[in-house]
Amino acid sequence: MSIQQAMGFLTDTTLCIGCKACEVACKQWNQLPMDNLGMTGFSYDNTGDLSATTWRHVAFVERIADAEGRRPTRLQPFQSNWLMLSDVCKHCEHAACLEACPTGAIVRTEFGTVIIQQDICNGCGYCLPACPFGVPQLSDIDHRAHKCTLCYDRLVDGLEPACAKSCPTDSIQFGPLDELRARAKVRVDELQERGVETAQIYGDEHLGGTGGIGGLNAFFILTAPPEVYNLPSHPELPQRKVLPGFLSTAGMALALGVAAAFALRGRP
């Protein structure tokens, strides 16, 4: 196995038209079954969430009026008054799921991405609450954890991931990480020049890749606070709590052990 360049996704939400081609292409390539034919009842988002069988999820945020009920009079320079974001596994530089996994099923590939080896995963489910973005999910079908593989099987053959391939507006861009980061900076500058002051990168050490996560291999250009797209601004690597947690527990064990010795010794 040769060590490759770190690869990733740049998802530019200002280019997304909400066509869900990425969702469909992902399902087709990865042979994922459908999971919800119902209506969520909010916006055009009938997928709802990333799941074991949905590895791309297009979020739709409709902006009808502001808090005072004022309707927009002008369109944004880049799209209508919809915010759309194709969510995906972030392939974190320091991944919580990978660190939490007790079987070693979750590994980092030669492309710097994070995948779950399906022949190792025993379905313990610890990666689910570990992920601060809510990405891995247990499957009802095979009872193992699943998430985006960044089309590892396509990468090894030199193909780009199915979602990026299918995206008609290049909202999803695939490439070497340093190249994508440079491109994102240029794009954010360009957007701000055109009047979108709120344009920002989600997935660097300031926003999204915070708290020991160290940055996201799949990162985003947003034009609203991350919470609007269901992304936490300052996620933290949960494993940073392991050592302090064990130290405080050891302190309590020592204190209670001594106290128990006095209690059990009987009154002098």
């Binding site: 969520t40 909010f42 916006s43 502001d66 808090a67 009079t73 002008r74 369109l75 919580a96 660190e99 939490a100 996994c101 007790p102 079987t103 070693g104 190792i120 995963c121 025993n122 379905g123 313990c124 489910g125 689910l128 570990a130 992920c131 601060p132 973005f133 809510g134 891995p136 247990l138 499957s139 095979d142 954890a145 957007l191 709120t198 344009a199 926003l207 606070p225 919470e227 609007v228 269901n230 992304l231 936490p232 601004s233 300052h234 933290e236 949960p238 494993q239 709590k241 392991v242 302090p244 947690g245 064990f246 405080s248 309590m252 064990a253 209670l256 128990a260 059990l264 010794r265 009987g266």
Partner: protein, 364 residues
Amino acid sequence: MSREPHFREAPLTASAGVDAGRNWEPRRKSRSAGDAARTSYYDQPVIHKPHWGWLIITYFFLGGLSGGSYVIASIAELVGSPGGGRITRVGRFLSLAALLPCPILLILDLGRPERFLMMLRVVKLRSPMSLGTWGLTMFGGCCTLSALSEAAGAGLIGDSNGLRRLLRPVPTRVLGAVGMLPAFFITGYTGVLLAATAVPLWTRSYLLLGPLFLTSSLSSAAAAIALILACMRGTSRKTLASLERLGALTHVAEIGLLLAARANAGDRLARPLESGRLGQLHRLGVLGVGLLAPLALESRALRPGAAPSRAETIAASICALIGGYLLRYVTVMAGRASADDPYSTFAIAGVGAGGPGLSGDPVR
């Protein structure tokens, strides 16, 4: 307080105009933590909650009971408490009995139970579940060996068979002392396991959950040993009194830890602990039945000159055991509820959230 309108009602958080991309203020300028807590994606959960249910909750309880019994048995053996021999003997047997169902519960909970051995492929120091697997394995060895040599000492294993000969060179006191390390680990690591997740209620109190589970394990074990001894003939009042002292001590510590965790969580994160059926279980079950009731009985029994009656000991023990189970139940279920609440997630990882730490300013 609780003023998070749905996105449908107030799609824009800032009062700036909708046009020209200025719908929201830039992140660092004027958005406060409060703003973050009022914004979400149609109230959808941000993170995925764990699937853990009664299997894992029961494991948390029995594992704690087993580790706690081992610790109490070892300490009683080392300090030579009044009637310590009885406490040690019951503690060793109880520890093994409570431990036996644990691997079964854990394996049943796996999505692919037949693959449980995959847990033994790797050792990962930053994964509490991996550490727990190895801790449980080590503790299983210590616990079984200690219980067997205790059984040999009690004459439960025939004099002339091979097992007896094998057990003879086992240094019981040394083994009991060394085994306290994995035993303590088993009682507390489950709390750290919960804390090392993105679940708001758990990760917020990451310094408190381990100590809370450890303390509760010791109190459950003290209660269970006292319950068994109170039902046995020939147990002295002094023996029961020493266990009641330990019980009272752990109950006071638990109340302190629970109050600290509640204060640390803040109102938003603690909502599942205070409302609905879970809130009632928390107040009445964990605090009332599990802590205050046994504490009242124990403090009655521990007044100078008073000796605990067997009935009181039995009542206090049963209450404490119910409370120990409910503590795990409420902690797991309330954590799951907080994982479903995007505002709780944003309170710990949102715009206004500080770095890690107990002193960060949560959204209240």
